[in-house]
């Protein structure tokens, strides 16, 4: 029983990290069709923001809470610059955005190496997040619980943003029919910029979260980007709830696979599971119903 709960929680925890990494992608990839490989580097930028804020402030607790909005701004600003400089002229070539942003990710990684050095740095975990709580006899680390709560908060905030605010309404309108939205007076340029800002900002928040469970290095991005994309693909393009379900499902599956085999075989099994799943539902868990053929 303890083992089962421990495993379940490990899966949920992995799922919450995946969800944080994938939420922003679900916005930029799902809603706008841009395949942003630099999203992983925005996560890294968020992690380094947490590091810098902590170096400046000293206190681990205050700096954690401060670095969440700071990382959101850093990630969002980087995303906005990327969108304005490069991506805005590439919306009709979605596949090429993948390669352009891969180039950007190479540059950002090297910049991180030049600024912060190649060895990894550590962000101290505040005292109130150290230790475990007992859940039916299984020890649950507080940091993991914090990340789970953070992921659910971000999910709720994003869902609220999309469903209940004017910006969300504009985003959804542009996703469903860009031309019609524009002719109804919605500036699709502004909407694109804001969507990209929010999506990239979420990557920054994910970056702060991952500093709590591991060290920060320039190579942090590639660890998350592939899994995050798989979450979006399995969840269905443009579907926040799909991404949420897929993230937790993949997290639990991966921890089960890794528990019953090894970490590396587990990775391969996950990929096989996704390919098989796409045989059943080629468009992911949820699909946006349109009449287009593509």
């Amino acid at each position: 029983m303890e083992l089962l709960i421990g495993q379940m929680f490990a899966g949920l925890s992995l799922g919450s990290v995946l969800l944080l990494a994938a939420l922003g992608l679900s916005l930029t990839f799902g809603q706008m069709g841009v395949i942003n490989m630099a999203h992983g580097e925005f996560i890294m930028a968020g992690a380094y923001t947490a590091f810098v804020v902590q170096q400046a402030l000293g206190s681990a607790g205050v700096s954690l809470l401060l670095s969440l909005p700071a990382a959101f701004l850093v990630g969002g600003t980087m995303g906005l610059i990327l969108e304005e400089l490069l991506l805005k002229r590439m919306y009709h070539r979605p596949l090429d955005t993948l390669l352009v942003t891969f180039g950007v990710s190479l540059i950002l990684q090297q910049m991180a190496r030049d600024i912060f050095g190649a060895p990894s740095v550590d962000v101290r975990v505040p005292a109130w997040l150290q230790g475990n709580v007992e859940l039916l006899g299984a020890p649950i680390p507080l940091t993991r619980l914090f990340i789970l709560a953070l992921a659910l908060t971000c999910l709720a905030a994003l869902a609220l943003l999309l469903k209940a605010t004017p910006l969300g309404r504009r985003i959804r309108a542009v996703v469903v029919n860009r031309d019609l939205a524009e002719s109804s007076g919605i500036s699709s340029r502004r909407t694109d910029q804001l969507t990209f800002f929010v999506g990239s900002g979420l990557a920054g928040i994910a970056g702060v979260a991952v500093t709590l469970i591991g060290s920060t290095s320039p190579y942090l991005g590639p660890n998350y980007i592939v899994d995050a994309f798989l979450v979006v693909v399995a969840g269905g393009i443009g579907q926040i709830k799909g991404a949420a379900i897929a993230a937790f499902a993949l997290g639990v599956l991966q921890s089960v696979f890794e528990f019953s085999t090894t970490a590396s075989i587990g990775k391969v099994l996950i990929l096989a599971a996704i390919v098989i799943f796409l045989q059943v539902r080629p468009q992911g868990i949820f699909t946006l119903k349109t009449r287009s053929l593509a």
């Binding site: 395949i35 596949l95 090429d96 180039g103 190496r113 590639p222 090894t262 990775k267 390919v275 796409l278």
Partner: protein, 415 residues
Amino acid sequence: MSTDTIRRTTGGFAARLTSVRQSRTGVLAGFAAAAVLLLVAAPALLPVFSLGLLGKFLCFAIVAVGIGLAWGRGGMLTLGQGVFFGLGAYIMAMHMKLADAALFGGSGVPDFMALYGTGTVPGWWEPFRSPVVTVLAVVLVPGVVALILGLAIFKRRVKGAYFAILSQALAAAFAVLLIGQQATTGGSNGLSGFRSFFGFDLADPANKRMLYLLTAVVLLAVVAAARQLMHSRFGELLVAVRDQEERVRFLGYDPATVKTVVYVLAAVMAGVAGALFVPLVGIISPADVGVTPSIAFLIGVAIGGRSTVLGPVLGALGVAIAQTSLASSFPSFWVYFQGLLFVLVIGFLPGGLASLPAVLGRLRRKRNDDGGAARASAPATSAAPVPPAVPRAHPIHAAASPLAAVPAAAKEHRP
């Protein structure tokens, strides 16, 4: 449409070049010249070390030909060619390890296995003792993996970004798998320290030359095959699938079959390149097959011109040469440079250098047109309310001619 308009857009020289390239004798002459350069001139002029290096670059060029077919012509953005490259390479490396162990080791067990593993050869290594099985497997294993994957993905009409991401995840999983199974794959160190290649001593310069020649012959054969394929009915169908998949389906063809065939071809090319890479370079490790090297294969293809025959080859060679000369002396600069290449080429010159004459021609025409419009509208501003009749003619002229006058290569930007 006339020769005159073509000459005006691309410049007379480029037009003549195009017509030479199109003619059959021209193609044969070019091919023969390349063959002489690779098979006679390079071995005669270059020292053995440089020849080995060139051989390594040629391996990348072989992979690039396959990517050019799948991505440039077929529109399949395959980010997992490293997997097929790695499959070919590891199969060859396993054979060479076993052969070395049998020749020199005495015990018949590769050295690293005694170090990390149980000291016995695992069962799935055994088939690769045989040279025949190895050569067959180098071709068949990547081909079959691509076939299964291609059928599973394309038949279900999973395409575009979904396919790109799945192929990338494949590369990630493959690298993780290799690193995780250290006892049987050498882990992150990979396999290295080979001494013989099908019984030939690898330390002997004569054998190194032979190995280079073999690689060059394979590259020439692959380029010839790709050229023939592109100019066949199937090649036309492939481009049609890239540009209008639904329309091709309505015409009664199955796009999934077309795509799968080309994906398998590209995989086989990558596998063969990997198998040649191992004896030439002497090491294969997960660092050569993971996500980043898989994507790095693409930049040369993009620079050269993804949908042309020779563009991928020349681009891959150029990038490999630049990397070798720059990366060792300025490693940090090289990464920035590589990143910038991706951004600039894909973002601003998606047709690669092959499309440069057409793009420049279009820019020049546009400038000329704008200049003409400005001159014509100068008097019109003084008589403001009169609608300028003369400049009106220009937009029509400009809109009609790019379609007609830009050569085929320039229109093939769309992935």
